[in-house]
Symmetry: C2
Subunit: 330 residues, 2 copies
DNA sequence: TTGTATGCGTTATCAA
DNA sequence: TTGATAACGCATACAA
């Protein structure tokens, strides 16, 4: 790789001048600018990001912790994040996050990225502290269960969203509503489960141990869990189910079809993300709409803003209920 | 961030000594090593990767071009790649690749990564040249349609795989076999389509314009394409279909169920990747097994080997046919 | 076994 | 409008 010095020599100028034209500084004569440009082209010169990062202490890189690369909900967020980041001049990468590996990650970022974006993960306090010490801000799309050390998060108002779903189901005559949850206390989906339970209680609807079913966030596992539940004679006696993710709603639906449980006749199903798939199942699945493009873009913008000195605030956007056939009796 | 100099001062040694213990060089007394270690801990010192990269001209980072983050087939590859890379001491990132953005990417890598991994994309010759000039090797899991400038690729032998599938279908009495293809000449799936056509010809089975159907690689689009084909009265007269991806096979199956076309009774379906989903559809889908963990790990190993001076060779692994209900008449 | 000194490719300050 | 030159944090050849 050609370096700046070689460019300077070839163009017959100093390295400083090369820098000026590369960074579009004013005060360089057109003639010199041209000379430098052509020297750059001829040598195929590219600036070294490593050197630049060392000097400026900015990498123009952002990282994102992804829970599972194949998840369509996350994919929708990531696409927008990637494009928005690129528009704002940032290079963005994705890594799979697994709790067991959190400590390994602590030493990975110094001098590699300017900021870390989360998809709802609850990082350990020590990780957050360590990141803060390195000057790496953390912003989350989706509110983590613990959010203390965080710079900001962007999410929807899950209680309002669940309330809309539950109220819709009530209108359809349901009272005994179950929920397919996912993961433990620190899981990104836990907020959804807690919101559901809070609203149920507030509405005076029955909540007990049988209310929660556990899928594993993936379609197939949810399908199996539901199949087992059906084979056990649906001990909860639910007439409707909400879920912590659309993929699990789709798995539920697949289980119902397999076990010949009519949806919505015998069981209504409501998902909560509005991934494209929910529109294409039979019946199409009623969902709480999660405005992924808006939220993903906002998270990136807040991060970039924060890196440029603008304080970043947490925000809860509104979601909306989209009623489809999986919960419509009439 | 504390720097190496501060660590040296605190420990009462020189910066060189700090370097020695950080890089586990021999020839440092245990007493000094201990002193340095505790100074590091107290200051919370982390080495700057930017500075290290500048000096060593190695970033210990690898990039992967992903076609679509939500794709379950690619997700399976990425998981293994990420873990294998981490085991080998490399930090790995994923980026979405879109052909339109290829030129933008050309200037992104110098001084940021040591190598680029592809998932079957056919990069433009100029991109490959530019990468080569920067000393960035390119290895692909899945053989690209154009593979000239590539360091190596790892893939299965698609002709052998397709031959196994076609021969299985022949055994079941099929002759008029269609194929759901995806994308154009440069698409990662094009090799699969070409292999299918080659084997069909070799076997003396009918190939004409009607043989190919086009999904868009995604389940929903394949479903819609198939639905249209069925509504048109299945003009190709096929009794079986193979596909360029499992997701499209699943979409086909969904369309058949929707349109009440019995599978495998009226139409046999064979996928080609063996993603988990194919095991959970009804009926389960016959597939050509793509050994994703092996291939993904091998690609990373070849890359790391190459970076350490071992020449990397291209390899075609064997695949196997897994017969399930979607193609079994008996 | 440890320290000194140099350079990696930038950016930025200060002179010219 | 341009040019010297000093950092940035690290690795390493060489000296001690």
């Amino acid at each position: 790789m050609a370096s700046r010095k070689q460019v300077a020599e070839k163009a017959g100028v100093s390295v400083a001048t090369v820098s000026y034209v590369l960074n579009d500084k004013p005060g360089v004569s057109d003639a010199v600018r041209e000379k430098v440009r052509s020297a750059i082209d001829e040598l195929g010169y590219k600036p070294s990001y490593a050197a630049r990062a060392l000097k400026t202490k900015k990498t123009n890189c952002l990282s994102v912790f992804v829970n599972y690369i194949g998840d369509p909900f996350e994919a929708g967020l990531l696409n927008t994040m990637e494009h928005r980041a690129r528009e704002l001049g940032y290079f963005i990468y994705f890594h799979t996050y697994q709790q067991e590996e959190e400590e390994d990650f602590r030493h990975y970022f110094a001098g590699r990225i300017d900021g870390l974006l989360l998809l709802g993960q609850s990082l350990k306090e020590e990780t957050l502290r360590s990141l803060a010490a390195e000057g790496i801000p953390v912003i989350s799309v989706m509110e983590p269960v613990r959010a203390e050390g965080l710079t900001a998060y962007i999410d929807i108002d899950w209680e309002a969203a669940m309330a809309a779903g539950i109220s819709h189901l009530k209108t359809q005559g349901h009272r005994n509503i179950g929920f397919m949850a996912n993961g433990g206390q620190e899981h990104p989906h836990e907020r959804r489960t807690q919101a559901f339970l809070a609203v149920m209680k507030r509405e005076g609807l029955p909540v007990n141990e049988g209310t929660l079913l556990y899928g594993e966030g993936r379609l197939e596992q949810a399908q199996e869990a539901m199949l087992r539940y059906i084979k056990d004679g649906m001990p909860g006696g639910h007439s409707a189910f909400m879920t912590a993710s659309d993929l699990m709603a789709a798995g539920m639906l697949a289980a119902c079809r397999e076990a010949r449980v009519p949806v919505p006749g015998k069981l209504a199903i409501v998902g909560c993300e509005d991934i494209m798939m929910t529109l294409h199942t039979t019946p199409a699945i009623t969902v709480l709409h999660y405005p992924r493009p808006e939220i993903a873009a906002l998270a990136v913008e807040r991060m970039v803003g924060h890196l440029n000195g603008k304080p970043a605030a947490s925000t809860r956007l509104e979601s909306s209920l989209i009623v489809r056939d999986s919960s419509r009796l009439l």
